[in-house]
Every structure is written in structure tokens, then in C-alpha cells.
Point group: C2
Chain length 355, copies 2
């Protein structure tokens, strides 16, 4: 090993879901939205001129920050934006979790939390979800250096009530509590309503799911101005110009079109509820999802086996070979047509297995 290698920060990186390049697959593995972004996004894209790109973008991302502030009834000083919610969460870990005490998050949750903790040398302690994949609130009442909860949780889809979040906040004054609401728009109760009451609450959201803009890399954090100021200070110390011009221009258009946004959500939720019913009929079991995916298991079919069979049929879903969830598949809600292909396949597969 070369001398310099001894000083390298060595990590086991997060492994993102496959992004297969081929045409003709049904891609239900990374929780993307099956519908396009709002029509205004297409219009803004058409109107962009490449000569505008020669200048640096606004480092404060003001147009986007102001649009989000308006959407959420907040002031611009309460909004932080980043390159996807992963960037926002990474910055938040780096900014707020420096106490030396362990931060707390569930044992089954977004698998990036422990990756960030390891990257930044933050101690952490996973708290076991109960047998229904629900948070046990009392687990979050102990000495800690921060709390991170995905709500609805991933990859389970289980939502925590706003009362539950409030209870945890009340028990942890002086502790930063991050609520990662990547999937909130599909049916959960947002903690944004609690921001005026709790200066230690940071709510993180993304444009990648409900706003159909995973390819554009936009995420945001919402909280009281003091929190956002600290986050911006660290961001400006890392990379002053994170949001490129297309992200600013197209992001704003998405936020502006509330009607399209709600209509898209309605369609996905309707499909999800129909898929739940059909999957139930086939014997699948799953926690009640409030997100744009379902997390399913079958009493008589191994998840890994089904994962491979689906892949062979060119239907990509997500399988996590991890304790407690290695017999589950996470299936993104696609269009009705995509879900019909999936359900047809599953019907035949289950019938054949039970013959």
C-alpha cells in the first residue's frame, strides 16, 4: 500500500438501484414517477438558451427558494436547496451531528443514513422497528446526538403520525430531529406544519418522486431560519454554486403548477390502492403503504427468487438482502399499464407455484 493510501477516507459506499439503459423494461426499482414533470417544465426547457450557461448561477438559488417558500407558507430564510435530497441530508449530517453522541434512526430505513454517519465519523445507534415495521416512540427517548426519521419510511412505506413526530420532538428539545419526507406527498402528514413550534426540526423533501424530476437533482430542507442559516454556511463552505441554471429554472416551474402536481399524485395513489387490492388477492402481505411503492412478501414464495423471475421478464423491482427484510420486494407504483403487466405476471407465477 502506498503511503498516501493510509490517509484515504475509506468507505463502503451506498449502492443505488440499477439504472438499466435498455429500452422496453418496466422499471419499478428506484421509486421514480411514471408521469412526466409539469408542462411548465417542458416550456422552460424549450425557452432556455445555451448562452445563458456561460454565467455562474445565483449561488443563493433565490428563484427556487422563493417559489418553495411560497408553496409552503414559509419565508425564504426557512428554505435550503441542494442537489437532490441526498445532498441536502449529507449537508445536514455534516452540519448538525457533531456532538460525539450517537444519532438515532430505525434499523430498517433509508440505507444511506448509516453511510453518511460512517463517512463523517458520526456514531449511530439503530432502533428496531416493531414487527409491523412501526417506530417504537420510546426508543427515541435516550441520550443522543440527533434523530433521523424517514416519514413515510423507506423501504416499508409505513407512515408515522404527526402526533408521533410531535411526541418525539417534545422529548428531544435541544436535539436536531430530521424528518426525511421523500415520499410524504403520496399520503403522509407532513411535519412542515410543526416548523413554527420547533426550532430543532428540519424537514427534508425531494423533487425526485412526487415532482417527476429525479433526473434534475433537486431537494430541499425546511426549518426555522437559524437552522437554515447554519446549513447554508456549511454549503457555502463546500460548494457555493450547487444548483445549476436548468435546476433553478425547471424547478420553479414544477413548484408553480400545483394543479398538475395534485392530479399526478391522485393518479399514483389510485393505482397504488388498486395494486394493493390485487396483490392481497394473490396472497401477498405488506404494511400499509403511504408512498409510491409497496413493500411486499409472500408466504410461499421467496422474494429473491421472485426478484430474479421478474428481472428475467424485464420487470425491475428492488430487493434488499438485509436482515429482517430479505424476504420482501419493494415495488414502485408505475402507470396502470405497467402495473397490469406486473400483476399478470404475478398471477401466473403464484398460480404455477401453488399448483
Amino acid at each position: 500500500m502506498s503511503a498516501w493510501e493510509q490517509n484515504v477516507r475509506k468507505v463502503v459506499p451506498y449502492v443505488p438501484g440499477e439504472q438499466p439503459g435498455q429500452e422496453g423494461i418496466i422499471k419499478l426499482n428506484t421509486n421514480e414517477n411514471p408521469y412526466p414533470p409539469a408542462p411548465g417544465v417542458a416550456r422552460a426547457l424549450r425557452e432556455m438558451e445555451s448562452k445563458q450557461l456561460r454565467l455562474y448561477p445565483d449561488p443563493a438559488a433565490s428563484v427556487l427558494v422563493e417559489a418553495l417558500a411560497g408553496r409552503y407558507g414559509l419565508r425564504p430564510e426557512q428554505v435550503f436547496v441542494g442537489v437532490g435530497s441526498d445532498d441536502v441530508l449529507a449537508m445536514a449530517f455534516l452540519t448538525f451531528f457533531n456532538s460525539g453522541k450517537p444519532i438515532l434512526f430505525p434499523d430498517i430505513t433509508y440505507s444511506f443514513y448509516d453511510v453518511w454517519a460512517k463517512l463523517f465519523g458520526i456514531p449511530y445507534a439503530c432502533q428496531m422497528l416493531d414487527e409491523n415495521f412501526c417506530i417504537r416512540r420510546e426508543d427515541y427517548v435516550r441520550e443522543n446526538g440527533g434523530i433521523v426519521l424517514a416519514n413515510p419510511n423507506a423501504p416499508t412505506g409505513v407512515a408515522e403520525s404527526i402526533e408521533g413526530i410531535r411526541w418525539i420532538l417534545d422529548k428531544n428539545p435541544g436535539i436536531i430531529v430530521i424528518i426525511d419526507e421523500a415520499y410524504i406527498d403520496f399520503g403522509g402528514d407532513s411535519a412542515v406544519s410543526l416548523i413554527p413550534e420547533y426550532e430543532n426540526l428540519l424537514v427534508v423533501q425531494t423533487f425526485s418522486k412526487s415532482r417527476s424530476m429525479a433526473g434534475m437533482r433537486i431537494g430541499c430542507a425546511l426549518g426555522q431560519p437559524k437552522l437554515i442559516k447554519y446549513l447554508n454556511d456549511v454549503k457555502y463552505s463546500f460548494n457555493s454554486y450547487t444548483m445549476d441554471l436548468p435546476a433553478l429554472k425547471l424547478g420553479v416551474e414544477s413548484v408553480k403548477d400545483e394543479e398538475y402536481f395534485q392530479e399526478t399524485l391522485r393518479r399514483i395513489v389510485a393505482t397504488r390502492e388498486r395494486v394493493k387490492t390485487e396483490l392481497g388477492k394473490l396472497g401477498f402481505v405488506f404494511p400499509d403503504s403511504r408512498s409510491n411503492f409497496v413493500f411486499v412478501s409472500h408466504p410461499r414464495i421467496q422474494a429473491r427468487e421472485l426478484f430474479e423471475a421478474l428481472k428475467e421478464r424485464r420487470i425491475y423491482v428492488r430487493y434488499f438482502p438485509k436482515p429482517r427484510i430479505d424476504n420482501y420486494l419493494r415495488i414502485t407504483i408505475g402507470t396502470d399499464e405497467e402495473m397490469d403487466v406486473l400483476l399478470d405476471f404475478l398471477k401466473k407465477y403464484v398460480r404455477q407455484k401453488e399448483r
Copy 2:
């Protein structure tokens, strides 16, 4: 102070140059390129469809990585890309500078280096440039945890020879040496040619200056595969999807058009040389710039005063109120027309002062 505030990572952030929103100003303060990106960039922008944005981009940024590898005669495993060279440099600091020993860089250089060092808790020791703003090579022969050199240097524009870089590399086996080549295309000798010989050399470049794409946030690091692998591991642990779809698509088009690239550089260099001659006639003194800016001082006019006078005339340049350089202005090379307006103003200003 709230309890959580005690655990906040507190920083004094980098202050980027002003990005004034008004029309009609002459913007020579952040080293942007006065010419638009390559015509292929405009075409790719027109051909983008917003529905493509619903999917995550390729986390490996393969199309862009491959285009850059081809351009530099490297293999794709030797190329890392990020959200501007600031993102690339931040990742490199985080990845490679963990020895506890001070990293070395000049006292006058890109003002983000000490900001990153402070952000990540990396000790550092600034090495004084000589009176001509040149590096003293022997300053980089001492126990250290890494070396960072901007070449050409900012904000001075002074270039170090490839022999100088090689000498420093030879004296520092087992130490990561980062050469920040943000301005290399305007006339310096790139250290990319040394990559096959030195496994500890990382060369960082950006699309923000020579490629006219500051608004698109693209930077890259070039080095031996082992170095790039470590950098990617940390990147994947921070944010898997950093490069959005427009950055990938438009970035590739810029790299493809070598002819336009060279022609743009020729124009800027020609303007720079003419501006140098004219400034010399007016009594300005400056180190010989190999970049897209000049770093000028006048024996009889205070830099700060001139900075304010220019701003009033709606000509923005950069002033750094820092030791040893607080009587200098950094002036970006714009179009010939922009520089003529600047030169006319300076002629009158100097004449009036000397009356």
C-alpha cells in the same frame, strides 16, 4: 444558545463573487467566458425532452466520463466528475487529506482551499509566494499531509512550469498532490501529461471557464485509477447522483467540439495580450497572466478606490481585501468590446488622477 447549536459545525464560508442580476453591466468579476458554449450544447438543449427528467441520471455519469477520457487520452477509470471543480476539490480534500499533518498551499491562491481545510478539520500551512507571486519550490519539501497548487494560480494568473510540478512530485512520493487547473486552457502546461508517471497526482479541471459553462456546474478530476476509485467511493457515500441529466448531455457536447473550444481560447488569449499591452501603457503593473484574467496594480491609484469607481460605471471586477494583494484588482478578460469600454474608462481615470 440552544443545546443543538453547540454541536453545529461552525464555519466562515467562502464568499463567491457578486452575481448582479441587472442588465447592462460589464461583468468581469468571476472569470466567466464571454462567449457562449459550443453550438452542440445549444442543439442538445433543444433536443432534450422534459419527460426524460422523471428518471434518475446515470450515477456513474458514463457518457461524460467517456467523452473526457477520450479527450485526454485516458481510460474512463481515470476520470471523476462532479458539480463544478469546487465539488470535485471538496470531495478530494475529504477523501485524501486525513493524515493529521498539515496540507500545504500558497498564501495567495484560490481562497476556497483554507475554507475546505477548516470545514473538514484538516490542518494546513500556507507557503509564501515570492515577491513576483511565484512558488518557491523548496517550500514544498517538508513533512506534510498533501499539497494543493492552482496552476495557473488564482487570483494572480501566474503559471508554474511542468518541470516545477514534476520537481515537487518527485520530492513528495506518497503524498497526494492536487493541481487545480481551472485556468490551464488559457495558456499553462497541463500536468495531465504526468499522470502515467505519478500515482499520487490528481489534476482538477472545470467547464466553468474555458468551456463557457459556469451555469451548468461541471468539473472533473484526472488521475490514476486507484485515486479515482477512492474518490468515487466517497462521492457515492455522499450523493450517488450528483450530475443531472442536462449536465451529462450538454457536457458531452462541449467536450466533443474541439475546434470551437480552441477557437474560443484563441480569441480570449488574443484579447488578453492586447489588454496587457494597453494596461502597461497606462502604468498598470501585473504578473504575466496565463489565465483568462489579469491581476493588476497601479503605482498611483488605490485598488479599492478604482474598484468602487468601476462599479459605479457598472463595470464589475474583483477586489480581495487581503494581506499582500489588497492593492490589486482581478479583471476577467471579456469580449474585445467589453475590454474597450474598460480601457476607455481607465484611460480617462488615470489621466484625471495624474493631472
